[in-house]
Symmetry: C2
Subunit: 180 residues, 2 copies
DNA sequence: CCTAATAGTAGCGAGTCGAAACTATTGCAA
DNA sequence: TTGCAATAGTTTCGACTCGCTACTATTAGG
């Protein structure tokens, strides 16, 4: 139990320090996290609701964040013709630049041994999986590791939404993803 | 580089989800983090400045947090006679209860194998160390692993501050700590 | 068809955050 | 000794997050 507390502390401290340096320009850490998510999410997973669930916050907060990001020109709005309730946000090139940015944390991570990195990734993923199981959250994994995914001649196919997927899309986050 | 991004995302997402469930009662995640730090910091390391540096925020914000925590009865104020500028905060029993609380993240961590936990701790510590080296931050390690620490008949002794340390104090966080 | 569920927004109050301006001490050097 | 610079903490500002509740629009299901 002693060790667990330590790890929780480490995770939170690393995230706090990372967030502290994520204050730059006219963006705060949360807005930056929204852009980062948008850059890795597929076209079915870019609504305020999805972002809110991924970031562990509320629709209300995300709605405000998007209002600000929209105003600053980091995202654009797409309203669906099928379901007039939903909104999908897209990164502008300005927003995509931010989403691609790396921070001091990445530099520090890259100093680890390769197998240490893989072990770390496996452990953190396992913790996340357990945490999501506890509170009934979605995994938000990528299409290629989904039970609804089928390989195709080019790219793939989603059997849940009956939609073809381009090669790039198969490695993007989907809110409907369920691990094999 | 692909993997590093993943790990950064994992750390931040875990911290966000942990923070989301840390909203309870009349405390927010930051106030909870302050109490957690105070519960693990020694008597030389409980000032607003130390908390600010540990949490990667500013003295101004921490000042506000303490004002709120003081009002709600989670901490008490101790003014030093030597240096009238400094203030040291102590947890009340109410505050200590909160500091000891564990969350869903700990449950999830405890499901890992023992050696996986040790590996995880080692990797995260290494990342933190590298990150702190990059931005010139302090480690905030415990006395027993400090270059200024000497073992004594009972507890230990700090050669920097020329102060005896009780057994419990040797495993507390110090802002002056420098790793062996 | 009508009610329930879903998606998004608006507003509230408390609080975080960086930044800058401010007060009160303490340290150091000429 | 004086006299500044460094340090510790506070206050205020504006933008924003966050949980919450109330609200509107749209869609789904019995």
């Amino acid at each position: 139990m002693e060790d667990h507390l330590h790890i929780r502390e480490l995770i939170n401290r690393l995230a706090r320090l990372d967030a502290a340096s994520a204050w730059a320009g006219d963006l705060n850490p949360t807005q930056r996290a929204v852009l980062g998510y948008l850059g890795r999410a597929n076209r079915f997973s870019r609504s305020p609701s999805h972002v809110a669930e991924y970031l562990g916050t509320t629709r209300g907060t995300v709605s405000q964040s998007f209002k600000s990001l929209l105003q600053k020109g980091y995202v654009t709005e797409y309203r669906s013709a099928q379901d007039k309730r939903t909104i999908s946000f897209e990164l502008t090139s300005r927003g995509a630049d931010i989403a691609r940015q790396t921070g001091g944390l990445e530099n520090s991570i890259s100093e680890l041994e390769t197998d240490q990195i893989h072990g770390l990734q496996a452990s953190l993923s396992a913790i996340l999986k357990g945490l999501l199981r506890q509170n009934g959250g979605r995994a938000f994994g990528v299409c290629s590791s989904c039970i609804h995914f089928k390989t195709a001649d080019v790219g793939g196919f989603c059997t849940l939404l009956s939609e073809p997927l381009s090669t790039e899309e198969t490695s993007l986050i989907c809110h409907e993803q369920r691990g094999v």
